[in-house]
């Protein structure tokens, strides 16, 4: 007797998506579609420099513009102990810059206006004076002994963030010393951005009488975001509701908490009105969570017949100005230790060092990769290089060792 997929409850059948009905009619509800009575708009002022000391912020002209309700600076937030927020990787990140900026596009001030025009005019009128500082964009240069220390807020006066390793270093080294053939390849898995078509946005609505905060957010992690909001604002979690409506793509980019969200909440707390912040594409690409940026060195040791014996990996991970990595594994390099692939190795050793540079903070688990994309690229490229070296057929080499 044969049973069809339909009878089994959908197995093997094409299933209609429940959300299509609203999406094909233009009736989705994304964050920027939310309109609340009495709502005002927030626009961020961003740094044009990647590393610079802030010598002054003049908000007087901005406050003169009709419709501008408030200008918030890092100093204002610092007075309320709100100028830093925790990241999802045991680091902290500036909400609005105080003293200096650490990457181009960093958030420096927030302007709230009655409408988007007033907010934009106000943001354009905020005058920020900067003294430029040397810029570090190369993670190797960031570890040089004479490199400027980027993060003055940290006790450790270095640009080194973390060291993580897995495997047996000594045993792996011994295999390399005795091997017939060794190959080495430096690889850069370049920084990329998830770039969902919908940029980040929120509407923060502080209810003054009930003392309750509702935030509509482009969020892939509303529960984690509620916790961060509670930590930053000092509100208990039950006083905060995060609503993540339809999200126009995330790909990991909407897991971290961003300064625009926090500024909107602060503005709503201050003004007692709903505050909408909608990021533009330039802001999204220049300041939100990137992926990859792994500078990898892979070495393989093998017999002259092409039998792979050991893998040794050294990697510099460029995390930008703040370690805002957002992925759910407990390791600082995610699941990068799968870099042995499917090969039958006697020994392997992998180490990763995280480094601060003057770039946007990250990196996130782009399309849930948890660094396995970097790992898979590394091992397959290394096997290609080995096959070239021993002049063996690549597929033959792979078959021998899988």
């Amino acid at each position: 007797m044969s049973v069809s997929g339909a009878e089994l409850g959908g197995l093997g059948c094409s299933v209609k998506r429940k959300e299509d009905a609203r999406f094909i009619r233009g009736q989705g509800r994304y964050v920027d579609d939310v309109q609340l009575p009495n709502m005002v708009y927030l626009q961020l002022v961003r740094s044009p420099f990647a590393h610079a000391r802030i010598t002054g912020i003049d908000t007087a002209d901005a406050l003169e513009i009709p419709g501008v309700l408030a200008v918030i600076t890092g100093e204002d937030l610092a007075a309320a102990n709100l100028s830093w927020m925790p990241t999802l990787s045991h680091d902290q990140q500036m909400v609005l810059a105080t003293e200096k900026v650490l990457f181009q596009g960093q958030e420096v001030a927030a302007v709230v206006g009655e409408n988007r025009f007033a907010a934009a005019d106000g943001a354009a009128a905020v005058r920020v004076d900067y003294d430029e500082l040397p810029v570090l964009v190369d993670p190797y240069a960031a570890l040089a002994s004479d490199a400027p220390v980027l993060r003055e807020d940290r006790e450790e006066k270095t640009n080194h963030i973390f060291h993580w390793e897995s495997g047996d270093r000594e045993a792996t080294d011994r295999v390399f010393e005795a091997a017939d053939v060794t190959v080495s390849q430096d690889m850069l898995y370049q920084r990329c951005h998830p770039a969902p078509i919908e940029c980040c946005a929120c509407v923060a609505d502080w209810n003054t009488t009930e003392e309750h905060m509702t935030v509509w957010m482009t969020s892939q992690a509303p529960h984690a975001h509620r916790t961060v909001f509670a930590l930053v604002a000092g509100l208990p979690e039950h006083k905060i509701r995060i609503i993540s409506p339809d999200v126009g793509g995330g790909f990991g980019n909407k897991v971290p908490v961003y300064p625009g969200y926090v500024c909107s909440a602060v503005a709503s707390l201050t003004l007692g009105r709903p505050v909408k912040w909608t990021e533009d594409r330039t802001g999204n690409l220049s300041s939100t969570g990137f992926a990859r940026d792994y500078h990898m060195k892979a070495e393989l040791a093998a017999t002259k017949e092409g039998k792979i014996q050991a893998l040794r990996v050294k990697t510099l991970a460029d995390h930008g100005a703040f370690n805002a990595a957002a992925q759910p594994s407990k390791w600082p390099a995610g699941l990068y230790n799968i870099c042995t692939g499917s090969y039958d190795l006697e020994n392997a050793f992998v180490e990763v060092d995280g480094v601060y540079t003057n770039k946007a903070p990250g990196g996130i688990a782009y399309r849930c990769s948890f660094r396995v994309t970097e790992a898979a690229y590394l091992i397959e490229r290394a096997v290609d290089v080995l096959a070239d070296e021993i002049d063996a057929d690549l597929r033959h080499a792979a078959r021998l060792d899988v």
Partner: protein, 172 residues
């Protein structure tokens, strides 16, 4: 405060008049003033196509056009694709062929396709891909988007009346 200007635009067959700032973008007129939030904003630089609408039947990026430039003209948005409760064949096609995931690029994608099918009722795959080259999808659905548009072309060729072939027309 900037001075305001009066505009009158026919949208999905209905006339709208508003007093707006001269610098207001067409997409903000549609979304903020008229509440037609089916048209989305993705890049504000004419790259992504999420804000695509039809202006007198021609696809344009409404994030880089001032609302006043549409004065006296006819605009079709995603809200105008279905007629009298009847879905446009493109809407059926996108649903049937899984031509969408997050739905954010979908309205712009369907309007670009509507204009294509108006001028090329039986487009080849290359023609379809060229037509939607100004509309980005990040959930990686181009394969199924092409199938969705082919699906719509087939049903428009086969079926008479019900699918109302001239979607983008509005009144024009």
């Amino acid at each position: 405060m900037a001075t305001t200007t009066s505009v009158s635009v026919t949208i999905n067959g209905k006339e709208y008049a508003a007093d707006i700032e001269a610098r207001m973008l067409l997409v903000h007129l549609l979304r903020d003033e008229l509440g037609l939030t089916g048209t989305h904003i993705g890049c504000d630089t004419t790259h992504c196509g999420a804000c695509t609408v039809l202006l007198n039947g021609i696809p344009i990026k409404s994030c880089t056009m001032f609302a006043v430039q549409a004065n006296g003209q006819s605009v079709t948005t995603v809200e105008g694709l279905a007629r009298n409760g009847e879905l446009h064949p493109l809407q059926e096609g996108f649903s049937e062929e899984h031509g969408l995931q997050c739905g954010y690029c979908t309205p712009g994608m369907m309007l670009t396709a509507a204009a294509l099918l108006e001028s090329h009722p039986d487009p080849g795959e290359a023609e379809i891909r060229r037509a939607i080259s100004g509309n980005l999808c990040r959930c990686t659905g181009y394969q199924n988007i092409v199938k969705a548009i082919q699906h719509a072309a087939r049903s428009m060729a086969a079926g008479p009346a019900s699918g109302n072939g001239e979607a983008e027309g509005g009144e024009g």
